[in-house]
Symmetry: C2
């Protein structure tokens, strides 16, 4: 999807918030913002929002002289997710439909997103997980079964990771896949916002259940033209692609292949454009070349 004019204030808010994570020096942040504004003054809105975000976060890292401003928040996310995992595992185990419940927790985990908000909000996170138990039985059962059966029949399944911490719940989902081999988990090749990199995927235990593959880019989404040929090969040959999060949706929703999108709708622009409800939990089955809304 192309970038909306309404994304512009969000980029600016995100830039200030990211800088606040690592410095209190107003002069440094102002100088960084001046560069951000110069970049935005030539922004091309036919790019996807994650592509513009990539450019801005590259400026943020450079101007702050910090390779990973979200490092602390990412560590906290993984730690908190690992704490929440046993409870989620118990809920999945005792659910009448464990796979559907695992899907719900994988979507619950998508709340660990610090692109939209830069601060930690324990209340929102706890609420998301409390909801997962209930939502597990809310999805269209036939759709959940379809995903399950597709995974069962596939030789290769590719999961596109989104946020750090969320990856812990992606691991729980993968543990409930009907197959144990040929599972790939894509991570970002370098830090960008709080997106999961290979290192953080390992911290979440993903290496125990899937082959972790860096996608070759540091964009908070999946822009195929910027990904490595190794990643593209898996993307093209995997029978099932499960895409986590909004950033991957924004960059892959127009791709000519079937993709399962799992995410919480956190952005009013996306909600309006695709007629989702803000806050909706989506298990979205996009068929080849068209967008089928749940």
């Amino acid at each position: 999807m192309r970038t909306s004019l309404e994304c512009l204030p969000c980029f600016v808010r995100q830039a200030v918030g990211s800088a606040r994570l690592v410095t209190e020096d107003e002069g440094t942040i102002l100088r960084m913002m001046q560069t951000i504004f110069r970049e935005l003054s030539t922004a091309n809105l036919s790019m996807t929002p994650p592509e513009i975000a990539q450019k801005l976060h590259a400026i943020i890292r450079k101007e702050l002289n910090h390779r990973d401003p979200f490092q602390a928040i990412k560590r906290m996310s993984t730690q908190r997710a690992l704490e929440l995992a046993p409870e989620a595992e118990a809920a999945i185990r005792t659910s009448p439909n464990p796979f559907a419940s695992a899907v719900a927790f994988a979507i619950a985990g998508n709340i660990l997103d610090f692109g939209m908000k830069s601060e930690w909000n324990e209340e929102i996170i706890s609420k998301s997980f409390a909801e997962a138990v209930e939502k597990g039985s809310c999805f269209d059962e036939e759709k959940v079964d379809r995903l399950y059966n597709e995974i069962d029949r596939a030789k290769r399944v590719l999961v596109l990771g989104d946020n750090t911490g969320e990856a812990v719940f992606d691991r729980l989902l993968i543990e409930h896949f009907p197959r144990k081999t040929g599972i790939f988990y894509a991570a970002k090749s370098a830090p960008v916002i709080n997106d999961v990199t290979a290192e953080e995927a390992v911290d979440s235990g993903i290496d125990k259940v899937a082959a972790i593959i860096p996608n070759g880019a540091a964009i908070p989404g999946t822009v195929l033209s910027k990904c490595s040929s190794e990643f593209i090969e898996i993307f093209n040959t995997a029978e099932v692609v499960i895409s986590k999060g909004q950033g991957n949706f924004e960059t892959l929703n127009e791709e000519q292949r079937k993709i399962w999108f799992l995410f919480q709708v956190k952005c009013p622009v996306i909600a309006k454009y695709y007629r989702f409800g803000l806050g909706d939990w989506l298990l979205l089955e996009k068929e080849q070349g068209r967008l089928a809304c749940s």
Copy 2:
């Protein structure tokens, strides 16, 4: 007060929202935003937020080739305020403390602010007025009496207008002043956001209760160095100055004279900095040279 880094996303949001009021042409808005970003790339944060807003809104008007993008919303505000006025008048009349109730309605009217949000929200507006009845009895009675007595003793009282529509409730407040002469009402000298100009003050009936004086500037606040000498003379000689709205607070809160500030706290930056609650209704008695919080 100086501009905060957190004001930057708000300026950008305000610019996009203002443009949306008068055009659907994305190309026009994008070109305008590019100029806005160039301006922001050299922004001086030691200026107050309304001074920066003034520069940006001048760009908005020029790039959209529209002298007053908020014209329709201002008309709607005055019309709606005039509809609500009889109910407010009845509530004030039957209140145990009519002056306090008139103060509350003058603060309720401050919700007609389209700097923070560009769309009309009837629900928020109705809620603000429903609250006014209750809030009239919530202010510190001694403080309300002090304001009343100061007006009674003053030879000149100056009310600094803020938003269009809100002026209708400023008129109700002035009608409950203990004195009927020497009342001045400052308006902006040209359109900026939805701020009240002399023309709209007349539409609100202010001319029946006060001498309307344009302040000489088109800044969404009161920057004395940019005001006319006629205005400054009244500002300096009035024994009582009642300042409506956040914009006037942001530009006058450090002035070396006593000022009564009446507004709803709509901005998280102001709330945080001055330890107000977001959404608070303030009858703030700033003594000479210091800020006394209510």
